[in-house]
């Protein structure tokens, strides 16, 4: 009975969201326009778009970042650059960072709310359990590494984490720390980011990521060794 009710709520929310998009023209047009602006991958265009909303500009930027998180293929760095140009690099970085955190949290909860049963059916319980176990122990490091690597999709990581049993708190903290360097650097350098500087930034992030990875591997190895020692003792 309880299960049925939950299912009803899930389907209800979906219907409301899709209905809003399809039957409320204002919602549909604005979402389509926002997607069109982001698809152009043009910082000036995004900046003009956000600026056009006047005093609502920060709110629109926030919503734009959340839209970008849900719709996987849209670029986030365009919004980060535009924010830096509009609000100065410090305020821009704070805005970009908080809005991308909100976006990540939303993805995490969407996956947790809708995904578990569906994904278990797809992957088989055992596979997910073993990933779960890994995420339980090392999830925060995995997330941190993924966040530092600029070529790993931000949104997919959030969705994937939502499917495991890792706690929201550790996911959120790891995301926050992992996002920090890139957000600060992108906001500070902004659209000045050309060839050589870009290489340096990517290099630095890789360095962070690799050190985290080494730390993680060491931890995994130590844990394994400990487990083995216990077995040997028995």
């Amino acid at each position: 009975m309880k299960y049925k009710k939950e299912k009803g709520i899930k389907i209800g929310i979906l219907i409301v969201v899709i209905g809003l998009y399809l039957f409320v023209p204002v919602v549909k047009i604005n979402i389509n326009q926002a997607i069109f602006i982001l698809k152009n991958v043009d910082v000036d265009l995004a900046r003009g778009y956000i600026l056009g909303f006047g005093m609502w500009a920060p709110v629109v930027s926030f919503l734009l970042m959340i839209l970008q998180s849900i719709a996987a293929p849209l670029p986030a760095f365009i919004i980060t650059f535009a924010n830096a140009g509009l609000f100065g690099w410090v305020k821009g970085a704070i805005l970009s960072w908080t809005s991308s955190m909100a976006g990540a949290a939303l993805c995490f909860f969407i996956a947790r709310f809708y995904g578990r049963t569906v994904v278990t059916k797809l992957t088989g319980k055992y596979a997910l359990d073993s990933v779960d176990d890994f995420f339980d122990r090392y999830g925060k490091y995995t997330i941190l590494i993924a966040r530092l690597l600029p070529f790993i999709s931000f949104d997919i990581v959030s969705y994937a984490a939502g499917l495991t049993s890792m706690s929201f708190f550790s996911f959120f903290v790891a995301t926050g720390i992992g996002q920090l360097p890139a957000t600060i650097v992108y906001s500070y350098i902004g659209s000045m980011l050309t060839g050589t500087t870009k290489t340096i930034v990517v290099g630095l992030l890789m360095l962070f990521a690799i050190s985290t990875l080494i730390f993680l591997l060491k931890k995994v190895w130590n844990d394994k060794k400990e487990a083995k020692d216990i077995i040997d003792l028995n």
Binding site: I29, N32, Q33, F36, I37, K39, N40, V41, D42, D44, L45, R47, G48, Y49, L51, G52, T194, G195, T196, K198
Partner: protein, 273 residues
């Protein structure tokens, strides 16, 4: 099992045949005769790929890529600066807002051109992949020409024909250009543009041609249009219909025929959008 072997053999054969064929094609394209642009009344708006190739790396060339930045990041002509679709347009607000997407004022345009290292002397060449975008190179060239810049040219056939000739594309990063010292522009030549209000007042007297995709003409709103559809009474002709499959221009005769079928001759005054 045996079947698979045969399939595999066939696949290899096909691949070989294909590579041989394409390499032969490439060679014949390399030897392709340069297309004579002087047959066009405004042929000097264009530059041939052969001529551009000989200018690459020169101090006197500013090469602007008008593709979506995603495509630019994947491949562009060596030394090109990626400027996207809307480099010289007003961008504050959103599609449908008053003034959004109109051409920048003269003062704003001068600022932008100086930042790109453009002056009145250097040759400025614009290009795009003509089948993966809205032909933003054409619009930008039209705008700069109206501002009196005769040193602006469109690459004939865009990167489409450039690639067909087997000329090189690269991922190499282009250094930011040094700003130019100065540039002089004329006021926009108004005889080649019409405002929304002017057109609306004379709608029954004007020939109007919508050159967007069929889908957009029929009401699609995928390019951010706040309202779908087309201007009342507009005819439809996709802009790429004036091009060959490799991006080069159809001959003047072919173009006149296409326009003739729509009831438009050279003497007519008509509006495109």
């Amino acid at each position: 099992m045996k079947k698979n072997h045969i399939k595999f053999g066939l696949l290899i054969l096909c691949t070989l045949a294909f590579t041989l064929f394409t390499s032969c094609n490439k060679q014949s394209a390399e030897k392709a005769k340069e297309i004579d642009l002087s047959i066009y009344e405004k042929g000097d708006y264009f530059i041939s790929p052969q001529e551009l190739k000989s200018l690459l790396g020169s101090e006197n060339l500013i090469l602007l890529d008008c593709n979506n930045p995603k495509i630019y990041a994947k491949e562009h002509i060596k030394g090109a600066i990626g400027i996207g679709f809307h480099a010289f347009s007003e961008k504050v607000g959103k599609p449908g807002d008053p003034g959004w997407g109109t051409i920048k004022s003269k003062e704003e345009l001068i600022k932008k051109l100086i930042s790109l290292g453009i002056d009145n002397e250097k040759i400025v060449v614009l290009y795009s992949d003509l089948f993966k975008g809205p032909g933003a190179d054409g619009r930008a060239a039209w705008q700069l020409r109206l501002a009196g810049m005769n040193n602006v040219k469109i690459l004939h056939g865009g990167s489409t024909y450039w690639k067909e000739l087997g000329y090189e594309m690269t991922k190499d990063i282009t250094m930011k250009p040094n700003p130019s010292s100065s540039i002089t522009l004329k006021d926009y030549d108004k005889s080649f543009m019409i405002t929304k209000d002017e057109l609306f007042e004379n709608l029954d007297k004007k020939i109007v041609v919508d050159v967007r995709t069929k889908k957009e003409f029929d009401g699609s709103q995928n390019a951010g249009e706040p309202r779908g559809g087309h201007i009342k009474g507009a005819k439809h002709l996709v802009w790429t219909d004036l091009l060959n499959k490799n991006g080069t221009l159809k001959t003047p005769k072919e173009i006149e025929e296409i326009m003739g079928k729509m009831g438009i001759s050279k003497k007519d005054d008509f509006t495109l959008y």
